[in-house]
């Protein structure tokens, strides 16, 4: 039995998608453009990329760069954020620096990244790291600092040692907000990998887009690259969203 609600959660987005596709086709036909591809052409381009095996390689390269850069950002960002959240003195010392660096677009770092790491993976990974690390550190600071004192007091009352208090009270209490921080910074990381690949490397989905345009204005591949980036980003986000529904963090996402 399909409920009205289930129908809505599937039908509405699928309907929007179909409308967009139809609009796309109509727009291409109506303007008579020779440059911008139709959905069929994009699909053909995509199939060609899959056949040559390039698509998987590019996607894998992009994911690997995000994996390394974001992985490093997780270690440093979570660590830094927790220290800042736990020790107000550290927050006072480092907070302004982080706040100062954060509004600088990761793209502004490109020349410096290339200067330090050369044109290549090092530059791309360092950009991802930088872009993901700062918002993660700030979110983590907030998540840790806003854990209600009542939980910490209860934990201390039962005689928990500081490490035990950290793992059994502070961490689980901060977990929902930590996950939000991870989600936001993964978005940023995925956005930045594309930008980094357009400049610093010669593989990956970002490179695919730039390369397709430069090598013969293959706009079918440009659009295919964009669609792929969107889809993979969506999958990554859905992965984290799944974590939000786990029992021991779900309480933090409920409206009461």
């Amino acid at each position: 039995m399909v409920t009205r609600r289930q129908l809505e959660t599937w039908l509405l987005p699928v309907g929007t998608l179909v409308l967009l596709l139809v609009g796309w086709v109509v727009a291409v036909r109506w303007t008579g453009t020779r440059v911008f591809p139709t959905p069929q052409q994009v699909l053909q381009g995509l199939v060609g990329m899959v056949r040559s095996g390039l698509l998987w390689r590019y996607a894998a390269d992009s994911l690997l760069r995000v994996g390394v850069g974001f992985g490093l950002a997780l270690i440093v960002g979570l660590g830094l954020g927790m220290v800042m959240g736990l020790y107000p003195a550290v927050a006072a010392a480092l907070g302004p620096v982080v706040q100062f660096l954060r509004p600088i677009s990761p793209l502004a770092w490109v020349p410096i990244a290339i200067l330090f790491f050369g044109v290549g993976d090092g530059a791309a990974v360092s950009l991802i790291f930088l872009a993901a690390c700062l918002p993660l550190a700030l979110h983590t600071t907030g998540a840790v600092a806003t854990v209600p004192a009542i939980y910490l007091n209860a934990g201390r009352n039962f005689g928990l040692s500081p490490p035990r208090l950290f793992f059994r009270v502070l961490l689980p209490a901060a977990m929902p907000q930590l996950l939000v921080g991870v989600r936001v910074s993964l978005w940023v990381a995925w956005q930045v990998v594309v930008a980094a690949e357009m400049i610093a490397v010669d593989s990956g989905l970002g490179y695919m887009i730039v390369d397709a345009r430069n090598a013969g204005k293959r706009y079918d591949l440009v659009v295919a690259g964009m669609l792929l980036i969107g889809s993979i980003g969506l999958l990554l986000d859905m992965g984290i969203r799944r974590m939000e529904s786990l029992h021991w963090v779900r309480w933090g996402f409920r409206e009461e």
């Binding site: 939980y151 009352n157 039962f158 009270v169 689980p172 963090v249």
Partner: protein, 267 residues
Amino acid sequence: MKPTTALSPPPAEASAVRATALTVRGLQVRFSMPTRELTVLEGIDLDVHEGEFVCLLGPSGCGKSTLLNVVGGFLRPTAGEVRYRGELITGPDPRRIFVFQERGVFPWLTVEDNIAFGLFRLSEAERRERVAHYVKLVGLSGFEHAWPHELSGGMKQRVEVARALAANPEVMYLDEPFGALDSITRHSMRSELLRLWESERKTVLFVTHDIEEALQLADRVVVMSARPGRVGRIVEVDVPRPRDISSPRYLELRDSLLEEIGLAHRI
């Protein structure tokens, strides 16, 4: 139904009851506000005996919760001291467990795991036995694996009380534990708390702003006045348990407490 005389403790127990558990002397708490100094508590002297049920009664803002936080070891006084069995209190201790309003239940643990929280020093088997006992005692059988957000306010409050009792403390501090509950649930929670206290005989320090609640529960009611918080009269509630809340003595005590707090008898 036991005869009323059986409810008054035998002489041997009575002398044990008189031993002092908590001693508060010359307690003062001041907070530095941006514009002025705020004295929350001033010159508080108080003794709580072993196994005694004492209620701190006063209007909101009289510093009774602050006093409980100092006695609980969460807040350092500006002057004066608190001793437990002669030993200076410098921090929280598992022998003296603080029960918050139901907000203190950990939302990331099930009912069972919440109750087991303070039992990490015990073996798995002991822990399971203890949890099962207290789940039953507070009437949460069948909800062992429920999550706090699935429970009502009264049930969450029971989880907190069970979590405290399971740790087998000598003293329990309760800070308006039933404040967020509706009046019907409050009433039944009070009699449940009394039942638990009568079976376990912990020393209880209970903060409330509800005169009836204080009179129904306490051996002694400590009336506090506000700004700065001071101890006013201490009322011995000499109504035998189970208390008849329409007995002349009960009503007389209620009226004198109303007067003490400065309220009229008629509305």
